[in-house]
Amino acid sequence: MSATGIGASVRRKEDFRFITGKGRYTDDINRHGQAHAFFIRSPHAHATINGIDASAARKMKGVLAVFTGDDLAADKVGGLICGWMIHSKDGSPMKAGAHPALAQGKVRYVGDHVAVVIADTYAIAREAAEKVVVDYDVLPAIVDTATAAATGAPVLHDVAPNNTVYDWKLGDKDATDAAFARAKHVTTLEIVNNRLAPNPMEPRAAVGEYDEGSESFTLYTTSQNPHVARLVLSAFIGIAPEHKLRVVAPDVGGGFGSKIFIYAEETICVWAAKKVRRPVKWTSDRTEAFLSDAHGRDHVTHAQLAMDETGKILGLRVKTTANLGAYLSTFSSAVPTYLYAPLLSGQYNIPAIYAEVDGVYTNTAPVDAYRGAGRPEATFVVERLMEVAAREIGRDPADFRRQNFVTQFPHQTPVIMCYDGGDYPQALDKALELADYANISKRKAESARKGLLRGIGISAYIEACGIAPSAAVGSLGAGVGLWESAEIRVNPVGTVEVLTGSHAHGQGHETTFAQLVSDRLGISIDNVAIIHGDTDKVQMGMGTYGSRSGAVGMSAIVKALDKIEAKAKKVAGHVLEASPDDIEFKDGKFSVKGTDKEIDFASLALQAYIAHKFSGQELEPGLKEGAFYDPTNFTFPAGVHICELEIDPQTGIVTIDKWTAVDDFGNLINPMIVEGQVHGGIAQGIGQALFEGVVYNKDGQLLTASYMDYQMPRAGDLLSYDIAVTNTPCPSNPLGIKGCGEAGAIAAPPAVVNALTDAVGHEDVPMPATPQVLWRAAQRAVLKAAAE
């Protein structure tokens, strides 16, 4: 292994510019003559709009325009779309209500886009917005997930008369019913998976621009997938054809899923740039982000696990209601269906599974993918059930899991997925040892002596990453393929530019992708540039989400590198006067087998471009190759996390004492970056379990619209984690890598809640388990102890 090759913890190449303030984010981009947009948002969760009077605002000095939904309709601008078709049990397509970028006649959540003011400065636009009078008739609102489809609930969209987008199923109901009929024990749980706000450090922003000469648009935007944004803005919203629309996603400060989607604000900025004949800029403030970024999670689930007399699992039954918010966001329909139910088998051999999922509209912000997207929700169901089932049948939770682990691969689950490899007992054993699980009762007794409640919780998670085989997702309703592209441009001096359809917004691709190229071509990592995020540079790509950039994006680079090597060997054959079949490539040198004739990579590149040693008719000059890689399967990272904590029953304050994470990500490119991803994921997972929760009141007002009320995890709330890995290389991609970006966020919540419920001795601990929640939960434990 070289110092900068695959497997080396190379310091991130991009960090110097980030930590010295030299990054270039969308808000750093200012175009000549730029105007500013301010969005007028609905103060009501549900209302009809009788009229909008913008006459006073339009007269203000510095105001260029005020646009409403009528202006979009007049220009035939299409609505925002949901790109994944889900069918209900009866085969009917999902009921997608129209989602105009500016409201047309009705608003459906607090923060919904009503109108936009465009002015010389942000201050003028904001000032003018206060002079726009919107005449609302307020309607009753529904925000509650569980009762959104109940008779009498206010209806959001006429196309969905009971607020139900779809009622979907997966698995074999009869086989599952039969399994439950012969069960010795059934564990039942009611589970709420709390709604989260994504909170990337950089809020969303957009700059739209129109060039009259070329009749083309440019949109700078905070996107995880600029090519998908261009596709949607062109083909569905109708801003301009693709060759007349350039989308640039420059440095992006985190996304966690929330920047996958195509939003109203960026649509308006690029559309309005032509209307006002000036570039138009918008940057979200933090409260706008809380109101209008797509949220995550928000499930209500009834789940049952059936076991025989030995503790062997016979079946799993799940009924989930998923809150999709007021409109269907770009991929929202897929998250609680195909990204959720296929993971319900966990790491376990479960012969029969049946899942039903109802997606419902409510008067809340749209809900879509957020770090893990469906897989954290599935893991939470499975790992809570496993823990509670073990407790109910008097088994050690670790042994109970071990008894039911999948141990033979490939393993076809009853819910689509075919696990291609893994070693679940190995990760469990390693985690138990690192966590000193054997001595937990001593530590519990020690805490009890101090009047504190100690608990330990296990989470054995699996996720499906590296999304995804295009034909497979197409058969499930996806509107796109989920391959990735790469292009390798070798310059005449031997430096290399890699153009990738993956997008980096914190993941460190400029380092890891360069490590791969450096390793393969035997050139310095400093001679490799990674180019991404600009549709004028990279031809097409599918972007970054679902832990796919390594498994899919890097596999595309490998494929392009294969082509580069093949072409280079032909050039070398001419230069070294040998058959290409006799050329070997090793450590950056091409040589003729069995001789001392060789040429280094940089000299070979020059030969490819000067083309003096071969005829351009038999071999094309130049050294540039592209590839599209379509995966053959999902990848299946898995692992075991163990949380140990202590609760002060007097105050409800919890302290996480020890965190053990043993993850199998397959081969690692850069262990330091992987560890960073695990840290961040665990922080977000602990955040969901203990701190974070979006709260709307019953009228649909958002109570958690700033950091005064929405608690993000802070460094002081967390601890140093004990992190280890196991490695079963992924058999389905050339690098043997599985993906690591979401693991922590998937693994952590059930580990925390399993530890909390262990500490308090009952299962009634909702997320987020704030001090108030834990004080009440602990009082029951204290009263119970006193009674005994």
């Binding site: 105050t651 958690t704 009320d709 108030q772």
Partner: protein
Amino acid sequence: MYEFAYHRPGSVAEAAKLAGDHTDGKLLAGGQTLLPTMKQRLAGPSDIIDLSRLDDLRGISVKDGVVTIKALTRHAAVATSAEVKAAIPALAELAGMIGDPAVRNKGTIGGSVANNDPAADYPSACLALGATITTNKRAIKADDFFQGMFETALEEGEIITSISFPVPEKANYQKFRNPASRYALVGVFVAKTAGHVRVAVTGAGASGVFRVRDFEAALEANFAPAALDGKSVSASGLNSDIHADAEYRAHLITVMAKRAVAAAG
């Protein structure tokens, strides 16, 4: 932010005159509450009277058993003051618990006390230590100063110049933070001064900081945590929000008060 006229007076008298002349104006000390509210357009004062040039309103002195802190003294200065740490360590600790380093290096004691945010820390210290708030016009006892949420005895054109704290025999402040904002969800300041005990609670009361006479009597008889066994504050009149309902706050007041007594020694 809405437009406003900006003034930067050179003396307290000039500041008081400006404040009297512009009754829709606001005095700007550290700005840690005022400026965020203005940025969010929740406040739109006609005039801002910036006190930052009033250098004689800064400083700490200890004399004759009284710690006097001038109004524009920043929280960080109080938290790190050797004199305060020696005389009333609980007061320095309280100042060190306010906000974050950025807030502590801008925010001032006078600004905090004048604002009387129901979740601010300093009002509890003023009340428990029996402080005197001195203005350009008069001296006001803490018991008379705090008059409800964001309400004080300050009149138009009246500016706090300093706050004096008698040095107690024992004192401690226990703060249970709001998990999101880190303001006091419940903050309890317990002090024993010249044989008398005062217990002041911030963060919990719907009308701002208040004293708990029942606790004070019990602790005056026996200054020990056990003296508060079985004692509690009624939940009625306490705040309820998504972080803590009134019952939980009432419970925390007793817990924090006991911990303060234990820590005060």
